[in-house]
Amino acid sequence: MIELEMRRLKHDRTEIYTRAIQPILWLAVYGSVMSHVRDIPTNGIPYIDYITPGVLLQSTIFVSVFYGLTLVWERETGILKRLLVAPASRYATVIGRALASGVRAVVQALIIFPVAMLLGVKFISDPVYIIAAFLMLFMISGGFAGLSIFVASLMKTRERFMGIGQAMIMPLFFASNALYPIKLMPPLLQSIAIVNPLTYAVDAVRGLMISGDVTNITLDFSAVIIFDLIIFAVASISFKKIIE
């Protein structure tokens, strides 16, 4: 499945480039404007640097959350039926596809990464940290792709799926620490942010790429791993429903 995504990307790279436009605008426009607002406590990190991990994750998660659309399309064609009739187990199919989306997401992040550097974002130069950050990107994107597969198996049509996908992406992004620290949020939003796996991913990537503060790294990785495992199990169980 991962190979499938790589081969598809090899044949048509346009999608990767066009999808990079939005996050780059976030960084270049929103980031540079907001950096003049001194009220957001970022522990002394320039604001544009502060939001870079969030924007990187947002762009990769956008890819993942809409990954289910591929499945909805495949449902309308015969590909899904054929996959269900293949000897591979349904768990393998779901996890394979979710991880394939993770690969797509990492490729996406690799495009944005140098642009952020050009915009003056200072990354930590330790390769181990950067690799760990990309591993986190990969894991969280895979998890959200699993979530997307789950939603696709219930929604089944493009229109319904788009509605849910749009409804999911905004709260995910804003009810997390991607753009501002959790402390600034009203209590309700704070409690959402605490169960939002994106919060942990952002924390890890920010620690690994920008601040170098990795005190919570074990918690962050554990939270995302638990999220992935639950989502993969749920998505595999509901996957069969997609063709009914």
């Binding site: 081969r7 000897p87 591979a88």
Partner: protein
Amino acid sequence: MELAIETSHLTKVYDGKINALDGVDLTVKAAGIFALLGPNGSGKTTLMRILTTQFRPTTGTARVFGLDVVKHDASIRKIIGYVPQEMSVWLDITSFENLLIYSKIYGVPSGIRKKSISDALQSMGLDEVANVPVKKYSGGMIRRLEIACSLLIKPRLIFLDEPTLGLDPSARKAVWENLMSFKDEYGTTVFFNTHYMDEADMYSDEVAIISKGRIVKSGTACELKRSLHSEILTFSIDHGDIGSALRGPASAGLRWESSLLERIKALDFIDDASMHDSNLHVVVEDSEFALPAIIEVLRSEGITIQKIKGARPTMDDVFLRYAGMLPVKGGGKSRT
């Protein structure tokens, strides 16, 4: 005789309301080609999807090479190939890549992967275009690729849902020729749904007709056609004979015609008889027995026969009759 498929009292109810299958009893012999015919919505696709383990039946049992579709679904998936009605390949990559991905999904061991792919490409006559992106293919080529994907594991049984839908006659022929040669080489059983009666007639060893979720008739194409018990014999009669019969008053001519028809209808194996201009049409159950008797009657009336034409029922007639679109007895349409 080994059975590839065996179902008993199979039912499928959707949402507690719609009876898609209503007690299907069916057997399919191994290593043959089996055609399932039926109108839209008759349950063809549902049956195929149960047999390919996509759905569970509501009640009843179904076995594929002796394996139960509910209990042994994983084992069944290892020995079957399936080509759905809808497109089932990725268009943005080449056919070699499609086969490569599918060979991995199907778990073809890496040592024989290359060989399996080249065999599949060759079986479907696609070896020369293996590295062309699929979006540049014609409809017939895409269909052949889809079939090739399901041949990778050399399945014992291959299911084809409307395999040639929307293809032109030459593309249909190419699909079937490739499929037949693969079947002959590997002894694969082929089970297909179709609306094309000529395909069922030409390529299948056995045919079953499904209507409203039940199998209403099964047998070889020849048996089904014969089972209609109707063949239309058309006798072209010499104009002179009719002229002499009609030389008298018009009413006498009519009397002559109706008495001739009555005499013919009274014979054994005759369903109906009618006269149009100088053509006498007789619907017979069995022409071998009916023909001599009819000739006898015509001779005794002093009529010279110029030409006799027989029209046997086609699979279209069989389909129309059994799929519940025409009453079971009488009046089938036939073509020469």
